[in-house]
């Protein structure tokens, strides 16, 4: 390969595009999804993210990264944003933004934490809080592509009302016998809750049959302590570390 001969798949330069807000949806009290029309969107893979850039009247700019929630097949781009209370960008996106507003983004970014239905092996997704967002892009892609492999989502939320995409996840699972969705509620549980009520741990993954899966693809996304615990537990349960992909959300951000 020489520089004079461009090859398919060589990444092009990522330019800032204008995204217009088409609609907004409140997922939980602290989480809002933005549906965007992006000029010249080049397409993406499930699991990738974008950089968002806001510009104030005085020229001040701020950038943050957000995971893409929509599957590659969707005509519009969806971002799901959690409000960080002392944050700079997220309160604007979840509180101030209205349909018709325009801001800049560029992407897609990240070619590692990605999954496509063509990837062989069962899919295991472990998400905590808004870490479920890139995993949702994978589940939506899977539903559209037509599932050929079993999938498991283990999703840790603080309480029932903070489960993002709760109804849609229920519909996805109801429509697909090869998809299993397991919630764990770590802080408060509705009356009569029969499910898990602790953080994701080794015993939970064992009970859910993760070690028995042959050559699974694991994607773990959430706050750092959850990701560290779940990734470590998966390795201890005999999963090849090379099959475990992680995205960690630091406590900072905004």
């Amino acid at each position: 390969m020489t520089e004079a001969q461009p090859v398919a798949g060589v990444p092009r330069r990522l330019l800032w595009s204008r995204a217009e807000v088409v609609s907004l949806r409140d997922d939980t009290p602290r989480v809002r999804s933005l549906t965007l029309a992006v000029a010249d969107w080049p397409g993406h893979l499930a699991g990738q993210h974008v950089d968002v850039r806001l510009t104030a009247e005085d020229g001040y700019q701020a950038q943050r990264s957000y995971s893409i929630a929509s599957p590659p097949e969707a005509p519009l781009l969806e971002l799901t944003v959690e409000t960080i209370s002392d944050g700079e960008v997220s309160p604007y996106l979840t509180g101030e933004l209205r349909p018709g507003d325009i801001f800049e983004l560029r992407g897609p970014i990240g070619g590692y934490f990605v999954w496509s239905e063509r990837q062989p092996g069962p899919l295991v997704l472990i998400g905590g809080g808004s870490g479920v967002v890139p995993l949702m892009a994978m589940l939506r892609h899977r539903a559209i592509a037509g599932p050929t492999q079993p999938a498991l989502l283990v999703y840790s939320s603080r309480n029932w009302d903070e489960i993002i995409y709760r109804d849609e996840l229920e519909r996805l699972a109801a429509a697909d016998p090869s998809l299993r969705i397991v919630h764990t509620l770590t802080r408060a549980q509705p009356q009569g809750w029969q499910g898990f009520r602790r953080r994701v741990d080794k015993a939970m993954l064992e009970e859910l049959g993760v070690p028995a899966l042959a050559s699974p693809n694991l994607f773990i996304c959430g706050p750092t302590p959850m990701v560290e615990t779940a990734a470590q537990a998966s390795v201890e349960l005999g999963i090849d570390a090379a099959r475990i992909k992680t995205e960690r959300f630091g406590p900072s951000g905004g």
Partner: protein, 206 residues
């Protein structure tokens, strides 16, 4: 390039501090230390740890943990900048500088102009020699006066603080001199081949 659209109602919430000139474009300051890695944190005992210098496939020098700790140590207070947008000021590190490693290996100068860093877990990243020598890069084993935690790259990580922090590879085990610059792990997945935060070289072609 056309003017960026004004985001109606958006204002900076962060106070403009005198540290503003230490924060590269598109970055924001954080006081904690976020963890970002592509896979599980490897658990590495210092008993089985070693660090090697290689030229292509041949070994130039190798130190076990005890030998490495006996090399002259360098303290460095520096700012760090992650491509995911956070910057952290005045971080305190201790380790062995690239210059010291060359000297301990009996090399008067680096045998090539480029390096590839190899880590436990298979991660790689490329750094030019010019960005390591003259005190610019080190293999760090302590952060803030304590042994480096595994999630932050312990027992040892590269530290090249003037480039985006993915170049400061965690769990580093080998520095391989190479003739031509090559893309490492993130560099072949759309991230910039060099990664200067002050020129905002985040992604390929920036």
């Amino acid at each position: 390039m056309t003017e960026p659209p004004i985001s109606r109602g958006f204002r900076s919430r962060k106070p403009q501090t005198e540290q503003r000139d230490r924060v590269p474009p598109g970055q924001y300051l954080t006081t904690d230390f976020p963890v970002l890695s592509a896979g599980p944190t490897p658990s590495i005992s210092v008993d089985n740890w070693s660090f090697a210098l290689q030229l292509g496939g041949s070994l130039l020098a190798k130190w076990n943990w005890t030998e490495f700790q006996a090399l002259p140590q360098t303290d460095l207070k520096t700012d760090i900048h992650c491509v995911t947008k956070w910057s952290k000021l005045d971080t305190q590190w201790r380790g062995v500088s690239f210059d010291t490693l060359l000297e301990a290996a009996g090399l008067s100068e680096a045998p090539t102009e480029y390096t590839m860093l190899h880590c436990d877990g298979g991660y790689t990243t490329n750094v030019p020699v010019a960005d390591l020598k003259d005190g610019m890069g080190m293999v760090a084993t302590q952060y803030d006066g304590l042994p480096l935690a595994p999630s932050h790259g312990g027992p040892a990580r590269m530290l090249v603080p003037h480039l985006y922090f993915w170049k400061s590879a965690k769990w580093v085990r080998r520095l391989r001199f190479i003739e031509k610059d090559e893309a490492g792990f993130w560099e072949s997945l759309g991230y910039h081949i060099y990664g200067d935060p002050w020129r905002e070289q985040r992604y390929t072609g920036d």
